[in-house]
């Protein structure tokens, strides 16, 4: 069941959640609707910050920090650099064909409604959520899990990054024209 | 000694021919085909002497597929037909020059290999594999060495390939389904299978589609005339002489015994289709402008009768069908060779451009005449024995079947004689027509000798095939 936020009797946590959710969704929308790509990027940064807020709300501080560093700090900067590199900040999209917009809206509504309907239709989770009381999200624990149980994926992620790196080099490297 | 040796010889022959180079290819191919013929005769002797010539080896475990070759009388006689016609066909091509001859002859031998395999295989899947394998060489033979406009030929040949493949794939489904029922592809297990009415119905028609297209039974014959016309004569001979017998043989070997109830249920329809083929083919043949097309339709008419014989489910029908398969094999090869002989000299297949050959080439005229007469089943020719037996079996089903099927002797005479008249008779042709060369004579005379010998003395064949046919009929009648 959906917990309809009862603002009058809402707990602080609920209010924060609602606020953050609102910010997240709004900025995400704005990021998509904004004509200027730089604005989009900035909206997106805000959105990511709000998601980091969610993480904090859920008490995973370490993740929130990493999230901010990686997304806002690295990925979005990369985006911004690229946008500026291409000098796209002034570029406005020509009018989109109606059919594109229609298709986008239709599919958005469709998938949104379908997914939400499914979750609404599903049986609600009953009873109290488990609370083991154990620490599960401190740096300490995360580090242990990551480097013990998830050692192999962790190493493998390096292969992923290595591949991406080689790939990017490959794509960007100018070839010497042999003569 | 067992039958797998023969297949090996043919396969080795195909490769040797390819590597022998263009100049030697035809001779090497002839040599191997003759060896194969000798070997099949030796096998026949061994079989008659009661030796076990079968071959049995497990091949695939899951699903269980056995490399199982069984030679009974029926298989052996079809094998003999194949191995006897192949050297003839190869030898008949000696007058022609083929580009890339090594591939050409290698493909012929490969096709012979596949066809022999089809006749010998007693495992459903193995049989199917050979069946399909036979299709590929003829596809290339017709495509690459065929005649006429390339585009048209391409169309015709591709249609042929897709069409026949389409039919046989349904047969494959049927086999797979049967396998799921019995857990074996082996023919002896399939013979024991008991299927419900509905299952028989589906499996019967799946088989029928494959065979009807291959044979061909009308209305599945639309590929035939064009392909016969466009293929090189050697290809046409292989197709009409041996390959379409694969379909007829399969009806006897696989279709009827596995689905006896359905065969009995649809007996009138099938015989009707066969006879419709006889009449339709004959009538269409009447007004063909192309000699090879005419012969194609005549072939359609004849196999219609054979098919009708196969589906009568009585011993006469079966025996007659087998006899006629053999005779038709020889005669049709002879006729197509005659067409080729004319083509070599006049460079045409248009009947309108022929005529008046008899005065120039009396020997050829006589030989051709005999083939024509054999084709219209004059008594003392091999064809008569088969046709008589088949018609008699049709009579046993219904007198009208016999009457309608018997129109073949009228209509057949009509179109064949008309053809002969237009092609051979009349005022002497202005173009020079050299009489048959020695090697052409040898081919034709050999064919004619076979036709007459078995026309007068078919008994050895009867004795060879009777046990197999009895066995098939017993299987058919196991469910009443």
């Amino acid at each position: 069941m959906i917990h309809i936020p009862d603002f009058a009797h809402a707990s602080t946590v609920q209010i924060i959640f609602c606020f953050l959710a609102f910010i997240t969704l709004l900025t995400a929308f704005l990021a998509i609707f904004s004509r200027n790509p730089i604005h989009s990027a900035l909206y997106l940064v805000i959105s990511f910050f709000s998601i980091a807020g969610h993480y904090l709300l859920l008490n995973s501080q370490f993740l929130a920090i990493v999230h901010v560093i990686v997304y806002s700090g690295a990925i979005m900067i990369l985006f911004l650099f690229t946008i500026m590199l291409m000098n796209l900040n002034k570029q406005n999209e020509v009018h989109k064909p109606r059919i594109t917009r229609l298709g986008a809206i239709v599919s958005f509504c469709l998938i949104c409604i379908v997914l939400i309907m499914i979750f609404i239709n599903s049986k609600p989770i009953e009873g109290e959520y488990i609370a083991t009381g154990e620490d599960y999200q401190s740096i300490n624990v995360l580090g242990r899990v990551l480097l013990n149980e998830y050692m192999v994926p962790f190493e493998f992620a390096s292969i992923l990054l290595l591949t991406a790196m080689i790939g990017v080099v490959l794509l960007s490297k100018k070839e010497k024209t042999e003569k | 000694m067992n039958v797998s040796l023969l297949l090996i010889i043919l396969l080795v022959g195909a490769f040797t021919t390819y590597f022998a180079g263009d100049k030697l290819a035809s001779k090497v191919a002839l040599l191997f085909s003759l060896v194969a013929l000798g070997l099949s005769i030796a096998l026949l002797n061994a079989y008659n002497a009661g030796e076990n010539v079968n071959f049995f080896k497990y091949w695939i475990n899951k699903p269980t597929v056995v490399y199982s070759l069984t030679a009974d009388g029926l298989s052996l006689i079809m094998l003999l037909l194949t191995t006897a016609l192949t050297p003839l066909i190869i030898y008949s091509s000696f007058g022609n020059e083929y580009k890339n001859a090594k591939s050409f002859y290698a493909l012929i031998l490969f096709m012979t290999f596949a066809m022999s395999g089809t006749f010998l295989a007693s495992d459903g899947l193995l049989y199917y594999i050979f069946w399909e394998l036979a299709l590929i060489p003829i596809y290339f033979i017709a495509l690459i060495w065929g005649n006429g406009d390339t585009e048209e030929r391409k169309k015709a040949v591709v249609k042929f390939f897709i069409y026949t493949l389409a039919g046989s794939l349904f047969m494959l489904i049927a086999f797979v389904y049967l396998y799921q029922k019995t857990g074996s592809f082996l023919i002896q297990d399939l013979y024991k299978i008991e299927l419900t009415q509905t299952e028989q119905f589906w499996i019967f028609w799946a088989f029928f589609l494959a065979y009807a297209i291959k044979i061909p039974v009308i209305p599945f014959h639309t590929w035939q005339a064009k392909v016969y016309q466009k293929a090189p004569t050697v290809g046409t001979m292989l197709l009409s002489g041996i390959m379409l017998k694969m379909g007829l043989y399969s009806v006897l070997r696989w279709q009827i015994p596995i689905t006896p109830v359905a065969s009995r249920t649809y007996l009138p329809i099938l015989i009707g289709l066969g006879i419709a083929g006889v009449i339709y083919g004959s009538i269409v043949a009447l007004r063909q402008k192309d000699l090879k097309k005419l012969l194609a339709y005549s072939s359609l008419a004849h196999v219609g009768l054979i098919a009708a014989g196969c589906y009568t489910l009585n011993i006469d029908g079966l025996r007659g069908a087998v006899l006629q398969m053999l005779s038709h094999g020889f005669v049709v090869v002879g006729l197509f060779f005659a067409a080729e002989i004319i083509h070599r000299r006049f460079d045409t297949r248009e009947i309108a451009n022929m005529g008046g050959i008899r005065t120039q080439a009396p020997k050829f005229a006589s030989l051709f005449m005999i083939l024509v007469l054999a084709s219209v089943a004059l008594p003392t020719t091999f064809n008569f024995v088969g046709e008589f037996t088949v018609l008699y079996s049709l009579y046993q089903i219904n007198v009208w079947f016999a009457v309608l099927g018997g129109t073949t002797i009228i209509l057949g005479a009509y179109y064949m004689l008309k053809m002969y008249q237009q092609v051979m008779l009349g005022e002497t042709n202005k173009k020079v027509f050299a009489d048959v060369t020695l090697h052409e004579t040898i081919v034709l005379v050999l064919i004619i000798a076979v036709i007459f010998f078995f026309g007068l003395y078919p008994r050895p064949i009867n004795e060879l095939i009777n046990p197999s046919l009895d066995q098939i009929l017993r299987t058919v009648n196991r469910i009443q």
Binding site: - | Y280, I283, Y392
Partner: protein, 627 residues
């Protein structure tokens, strides 16, 4: 001994055929002719030996050679049955055959392919012997088809002329229609009695208690259709006049004396079957009578000398069938024999005339040949008298027997038959007068070359004329040697010699009178009034219908040939293409689908993802919302 002799009898002409085919060209024309003739003569001698033997101990000789065709319920052997009937037939087949071979040596001497001609003639004799001496229906069928083949080859002997080839083809195909009937008959008999062997069959019928008369009748009818084809009866007679395209000796041998009587032979052979089917016998009688009349009327106005004789043959064959229809087999056989004599003589005579006129066959271009061709004329006259039924010539006896039998059975048929024989007398003498009397009407060139034929031609004529004159002796009304000779063949008590009373004598008188009337009319018309038949264009009225043979050929052409050819064209042009289109239309549709489908592949990522999302939603909806 018997086997070897029988094989000699059978194979001698075949060896002649082989020899002539392979070496005929090398050894020269005369030699090939002589070899051809000799081989037939050998057969004749062998036949005579057998005849003496049979005539002596009255026992049929049966010879089995080897197993030929195997059917589920019976086996067919290659075997011979030499009994009274077959020996009788052989006698005149080989006898007349030898004479005609002899005749041909001279007649065909100018033809470059003479060795082939003799080869074919020999082959014909071979097949005819097979037909006659076969011990079962299937061996008969070999001969039956074989003679048809030889007939085809010989009619189309001059194969450069496509009209002749057409005639040959027509003969073969019409015969084959009959052959189908014969085959069906064989099937029925085979399945009913599990044998095709004459002797076994006869015993089977004789001993069987519950015969399926309906099936037997159908079988008899089917067999009769076969006989119709071979013996040129309505409706399958039109090939015979056309068959005159062949060289004249061929017409004499095949289309008058021997092959066309095969139908009568077969019915006589299977008399025990036909006796069981009276309805079919009636049909036979009616068909015979009608054929005889129709053919006679056509013959009245024909101007081609051989066509007249051809229609005459059809007419006479009709009379024989009439006799068969009444179960009077021995009478039919008697007429076969006499007919063989006089008709062969007539054909050979006409051949002699044609030979003299360098191929001219139109009687309007003849006349006055009596003076030049004395022997030909006399033999021709004798034969004409015989065929016209003038006593004491052979034809009188045989024809009279038929008429008498007809009178006893059915008065209408008797009237028809009598009319036909009256007409016979007329057209034969019309022929005779137009050809031999008055002045020559041909070209000057022909006139200067007129000559009597050489001895090789006249000798057979003389022999045959003598036989035509005295042939009646073998079956005199009061004391018939033939009836006694053939008696063992027939299950019924042989037709005992008619009581010779007033009726019989009156009938005889009427018949003779009819003949004389016919002759007289012809005399008045062509001698007294000096008429000559009109040219083609001037023929009007009913004679035009007759001259055009009742337009039967045209009707057949329109009804059967044209329609089947039309059907063929229709099949070829429409059915084949539409069938093809129907099957391969599927391919076209798929191709078109492909073409349309390509438009979906727009290249736009948005569209691709749109479809992705649609698919995703659809699957989710189906799995989680629609359940």
């Amino acid at each position: 001994m018997n086997t070897n002799l029988a094989l000699l009898l059978l194979l001698a002409p075949f060896l002649g055929f082989l020899f002539n085919i392979f070496f005929g060209k090398q050894i020269g024309k005369s030699a090939s002719g002589i070899i051809g003739t000799l081989t037939v003569a050998v057969s004749f001698v062998a036949t005579v030996v057998f005849f003496l033997q049979i005539n002596e101990n009255k026992e049929a000789i049966e010879i089995e050679l080897f197993n030929w065709i195997q059917i589920s319920n019976f086996r067919v052997n290659f075997g011979f049955l030499l009994d009274q009937l077959s020996i009788l037939w052989l006698l005149f087949v080989t006898g007349i055959g030898s004479l005609i071979h002899l005749y041909s040596i001279s007649y065909m001497h100018d033809d470059e392919n003479m060795h082939k001609f003799f080869a074919y003639l020999n082959l014909f004799i071979f097949f005819m012997i097979t037909l006659v001496i076969g011990s079962n229906l299937l061996v008969l069928f070999i001969g039956w088809e074989g003679v048809g083949l030889c007939s085809y080859l010989l009619i189309g002997f001059w194969h450069k002329n496509q009209d002749y080839n057409d005639a040959a083809k027509k003969a073969f195909i019409m015969n084959r229609i009959g052959d189908l009937g014969l085959l069906i008959g064989i099937f029925i008999i085979g399945s009913l009695f599990s044998t095709l062997d004459y002797t076994t069959l006869k015993t089977a019928i004789a001993t069987s208690s519950n015969l399926d008369i309906t099936m037997i009748s159908i079988a008899a009818f089917a067999l009769f259709i076969g006989a119709c084809g071979k013996s040129a009866q309505i409706p399958l007679y039109t090939w015979l006049p056309d068959a005159m395209a062949g060289p004249t000796p061929v017409s004499a041998l095949i289309h008058a004396a021997t092959m066309v009587t095969a139908g009568i032979f077969m019915i006589t052979r299977l008399n025990y079957v036909f006796d069981l089917a009276p309805e079919v016998q009636n049909i036979i009688a009616i068909i015979g009578a009608v054929t005889s009349l129709v053919a006679a009327t056509i013959a009245l106005v024909q101007t081609d000398i051989k066509k007249v004789l051809a229609y005459s043959t059809v007419s006479q064959l009709g009379l024989m069938f009439l006799a068969l229809g009444f179960g009077a087999y021995e009478i039919a056989v008697f007429h076969v024999i006499t007919h063989a004599f006089f008709k062969a003589c007539l054909f050979l005579g006409s051949g002699s005339v044609i030979h003299a006129l360098h191929g001219e066959q139109d009687m309007r271009r003849m006349g006055g040949l009596k003076k030049v061709m004395g022997i030909t004329f006399i033999t021709f006259l004798l034969s004409s008298l015989a065929i016209s039924g003038i006593p004491p010539f052979s034809g009188f006896f045989s024809k009279d027997e038929i008429l008498m039998t007809a009178f006893h059975h059915n008065i209408v048929l008797w009237v028809i038959a009598s009319l036909a024989s009256l007409m016979t007398a007329f057209y034969m003498f019309r022929l005779l007068y137009l050809t031999f009397f008055k002045e020559f009407r041909g070209t000057e060139h022909q006139k200067s070359h007129l000559h009597e034929s050489p001895g090789l031609i006249t000798f057979p004529l003389i022999v045959l004329a003598i036989l035509a004159t005295i042939g009646g002796l073998i079956s005199l009304p009061t004391n018939s040697w033939l009836n006694h000779y053939l008696a063992p063949l027939f299950s019924k008590e042989a037709h005992e010699a008619h009581h010779f009373g007033t009726t019989e004598y009156t009938l005889m008188a009427i018949a003779v009178l009819g003949g004389i009337i016919g002759i007289t009319i012809a005399f008045v018309k062509y001698i007294k009034q000096n008429q000559v038949p009109a040219e083609d264009a001037e023929i009007t009225g009913f004679s035009k219908v007759l001259y055009n043979k009742y337009y039967v050929d045209e009707i057949y052409d329109a009804v059967f040939v044209k329609s089947i050819n039309g059907l063929s064209r229709f099949f070829r042009d429409y059915v084949e293409t539409s069938l093809s289109a129907a099957v391969f239309g599927l391919g076209k549709v798929t191709n078109e689908l492909s073409y349309q489908g390509k438009k979906l592949q727009t290249g736009s990522i948005g569209f691709y993802l749109f479809v992705f999302v649609l698919g995703l939603s659809a699957i989710l909806t189906y799995l989680f919302l629609a359940q």
